[in-house]
């Protein structure tokens, strides 16, 4: 195990109204006063293991913040920033195999990216001497950023995947300690033609077939969707029906090269996929072999973020953005759109969200859901606002404002029921 270092962070609490208070001034009102008062990180970590606790991991351009609440999710404690000054585009809380392990991909503009691991909810983080996610020397490539950290299947608790920039997929079979690149993608014949999108040439989406360990789907910007059916040896582009609006008219439906922003899947219905494109909203019912437009009643089919409801395979959330040339919420209204019929229609969710002067953007990994019975939905904006809903999106609360630009929102749960 690499050296672990303690992270100096400040802990705060936020109320349902979203008003931030210092921990010292809110002890009497906090729903978890002992936790908020603790001056000893290790003691705090031990406390956190009792009872179920909701986690919202927020990666920003200047560090990560960890929000915690009990199951009611009415009051949140916050600590951070972890990795001060570093961009955190990917986080994961993994409880498979009896662990409670948190991963964070922190990238220093100067000193490069590092995958960090914590087994005590961020009290201490690994500080590897040598970056574990690294390209082979003879590849001529160098890791610019980790865009996604994905847990493997429940049946493979030590398996994890990383999607990185420049576009590549890495796999770990030992809980994240060591990583190997997927050579089928690394040496793919299309690879020289993949082009960077606005955020770089990134592999940002990893979708596993929970029932078939040989099938997996990834997406990259730009390159599009690729699927393997042989455990990662070979990969086929799966973009039929997905348009590339930035290409000349006669080339707008290429085999690959689309700028896919996100693909989501519900594990109860793994063959059906939903896709938010750089212009375009799609569904596939055949594991990506074909895609069909489902932009029915949305103010724009441009956007980045997309999230499944944790319990309903017909319910999907998106945040439409006006245009690639004006990356802000349409009509200056911050609206999450939800379909409950697999894309036949969409409804705006606005209660508690600003409906004027809200020129916001929500990036591809900044929308997430927890798995409590009454699902929590969370998203963060480029302007540093964090919103949460405890009722599947019917109403929203501002959990934080003034954070650095938010690029990643992930959820987790600790403790037992």
């Amino acid at each position: 195990m690499p050296v672990r270092t303690a992270t100096k962070t400040k802990r705060r609490t936020t109320s349902k109204s979203g008003k931030r208070r210092s921990a010292s001034s809110t002890r009497a009102r906090s729903s978890s006063p002992k936790r908020a008062q603790s001056a000893r990180p290790k003691a705090a970590a031990q406390k956190r293991t009792s009872g179920r606790q909701a986690l919202v991991l927020v990666g920003t351009m200047k560090g990560a913040f960890i929000f915690r609440a009990d199951e009611s999710r009415k009051k949140w404690t916050v600590d951070g920033p972890h990795f001060r000054g570093e961009a955190v585009y990917a986080m994961l809380h993994d409880t498979r195999g009896g662990r409670s392990r948190t991963y964070a991909a922190a990238t220093s503009m100067h000193w490069g990216p590092t995958l960090r691991i914590s087994d005590d909810l961020g009290v201490t983080w690994s500080s590897p001497e040598r970056q574990a996610v690294r390209f082979p020397e003879d590849s001529g490539r160098a890791l610019a950023q980790i865009w996604q950290i994905a847990a493997g299947r429940a049946s493979e608790p030590n398996v994890l995947y990383c999607g990185v920039e420049p576009a590549a997929l890495f796999e770990s079979r030992d809980g994240g300690e060591t990583w190997q690149p997927n050579k089928g993608l690394l040496n793919h014949e299309h690879q020289p033609k993949w082009q960077p999108g606005g955020g770089g040439l990134c592999l940002h989406t990893i979708v596993l077939d929970p029932t078939n360990t040989r099938r997996m789907l990834i997406a990259m910007s730009t390159g599009g969707v690729y699927r393997t059916d042989d455990g990662g040896k070979t990969w086929r582009a799966r973009n039929a029906g997905v348009r590339a609006q930035f290409m000349p008219p006669e080339q707008r439906y290429p085999e690959f090269g689309q700028c896919v922003h996100k693909v989501v899947q519900h594990p109860d219905r793994p063959g059906r996929l939903f896709l938010q494109n750089h212009w375009g909203l799609y569904r596939s019912d055949d594991w990506g072999d074909s895609w069909h437009d489902i932009a029915n009643g949305v103010p724009s089919d441009f956007g980045f973020a997309m999230q499944m409801h944790p319990h309903d395979p017909d319910t999907v959330y998106i945040v439409p953005i006006e245009a690639d040339m004006f990356r802000a919420t349409p009509e200056a209204k911050l609206r999450v759109y939800r379909t409950r019929n697999a894309g036949q229609s969409w409804e705006p969710l606005t209660r508690g969200l600003p409906q004027s002067d809200a020129y916001e953007n929500v990036l591809r990994d900044a929308l997430s859901a927890d798995s409590f019975d009454s699902a929590g939905i969370y998203f963060g904006t480029r302007s540093g606002k964090l919103f949460g809903s405890r009722d599947s999106g019917a109403s929203w609360t501002e959990m934080a404002d003034g954070l650095p630009p938010i690029v990643c929102v992930k959820t987790g749960m600790t403790g037992s029921a």
């Binding site: 000054g85 503009m109 490069g112």
Partner: protein, 92 residues
């Protein structure tokens, strides 16, 4: 004696001193940084990426000259040289 001054951000409880002095004669800047990396574990990977290139926003000065304008990591190092590793003027 070659002196390599690393950024304070590389200092830790086990490596409190940003100054690394190297007795061995080093042919090039790359070799000097490798030697310094042995004294300050973890620093080399943060200065040079896995392709062998100096990270884009890192500057290395050899006796006051930016090695980008010399022969890069292949620049020859005099036996009494001072090497500074600095964060470039960039950020957000």
């Amino acid at each position: 004696m070659i002196t390599v001054e690393l950024p304070n951000v590389f200092c830790s409880a086990t490596n409190p001193n940003p100054l690394v002095r190297i007795d061995a004669s080093c042919g090039t800047v790359a070799e000097a940084l490798r030697e310094a990396g042995r004294e300050s574990p973890g620093s080399l990977d943060r200065i040079i990426d896995e392709s062998g290139a100096v990270r884009r926003h890192v500057n290395i000065f050899l006796n006051g000259e930016n090695i980008r304008f010399l022969d890069g990591l292949d620049t020859r190092v005099p036996s009494d040289a001072t090497i500074f590793v600095l964060a470039a003027v960039s950020g957000g």
